[in-house]
Amino acid sequence: MTIRFAAPDSGTAPLTWGQRAIWEAVERTAPDDHYFNFGRVLKVPGRRSVTDVTTALTALVERHGALRTRLTDPPGQRLEATGRLTAEITTGDPGKVLAELAATRFDYHAEWPLRVALVVDGDVVTHVVLVFCHLAADGLGAEVALRDLRTLLLRGRVPGPAAPRPLDLAAWQAGAEGRQVAGAAAAHWEREHALMPATMFAAVSGDPADPPIRRALLRSPALHLAVRAIALAHRASTSTVLLAATATLAGRFSGSDRCAMLPIVGNRFRRDTLGIVSTLSQEGLFTLDVDGPFTGVLRAAAPAAMRAYRSAYHDPADRARIVRDESARRGTPVHPNCCFNDLRFADPGPAACTPADLDAALPETALEWQMSQDKLNCRFCVHVSAHGVSLTADTRHLSGADIERYLLGLEDLLVEAARR
């Protein structure tokens, strides 16, 4: 099935900050950059035919410039008005179809940044599977696309103004207001760089796996309860509690009293970025003194996290200059090599729990090894999702046994803090 789109607008622009940041990560991870592909499954409302769904998909791609934008050489962006997208029609399991579509890297210059499959049952489309190139969307951008696709299927049009485009964002970022925001963020990166350890997890583990990158997922209802209880007791978000605990333990495993960590931040705080399908997520810089009791660390973590979240909306060129200068000053590469990504779309919020609740939940904890690969642009990546907390690490710096010890240690730290 072919989706033919014809929109009125086209043009070229430099990459936005978010596009440039993800492009740098893609380049450092290639050829394993399918790592960044991700997808969504939309359960189609009502009874819709292949033609109905194709019409809605056409309108979706015409509405969102991000889905018609590809990479130019040298790196920049080109928005095209017209094109053709091929959609696979299948009767397979939507989850499996998604995994297959996401398994190979995108051709960033030649391929449209969206792969589509329609899952059918007879004449009716039951699910639409969308796989996104990370250069075109991040998790929240994909949610915007999904919401609009659903609206298009139900009503035939999306009410309200035209969707913001990456081209417009690039122009704003290059203008006076964008430069002012970038300047404030750069001041934070500069200040923190002067004080932070050159890197985390510098020591070699002596026990590398083959391939060296491994991921383990901890499913722990007890950890989940503990985080919400701590959030209640300390008036913090669950995300900040997890960031503080992740940083505290990263400091301990890395033998450093001060932890430097890069939280991935959605950067959808401004009116012009809320409804855009594009990659806005970028790394912020979070530093924290992590010696001393966890409750004290947590108190300092909340304002530090806010400053870090704000520093995420930055110009990667400014950051590159700051990193280069600080590395030259110290005579060693300065980079945290340590990141934190809370992928949840909503904070579950604070909630009380008793020690008995924690005791009852602890036996349900399970740890599962999920993937391994050759290359990653980081040494230590914690992901928080609805499934649990995962750690993807370079076993040349943190062995498989330590990955397991780290995740169980994180649960222990949080559960013990929640008991107090």
């Binding site: 978000s237 995300s239 304002p303 400053r307 979240y309 704000r310």
Partner: protein, 78 residues
């Protein structure tokens, strides 16, 4: 006027979780009313864009974002 405008920005930044009326009549900090850290970041960005100021996210700056009256006083006294 500034207070009313700030209350409208609080409502927008919290996606309506806190109404402008609630913000105006609050006797507790805005975070205690349910303004999340994401809401605070959106509020800081909105204030910067609209009033042409820089919101400092130190402990003091965050306290200011939590208190509509102090915030209004701060912006009026620029």
């Amino acid at each position: 006027m500034i207070r009313e405008r700030l209350a409208a920005l609080v409502a927008e930044s919290s996606d309506g979780a806190i109404s402008a009326h609630e913000a105006l009549t609050a006797t507790v900090p805005l975070t205690a009313l349910g303004l999340t850290s994401i809401g605070q970041l959106r509020l800081a960005d909105a204030i910067e864009t609209e009033f042409g100021v820089t919101v400092d996210l130190t402990g003091d700056g965050l306290d200011l974002l939590d208190d509509l009256d102090r915030l209004a006083g701060h912006l009026a006294g620029r």
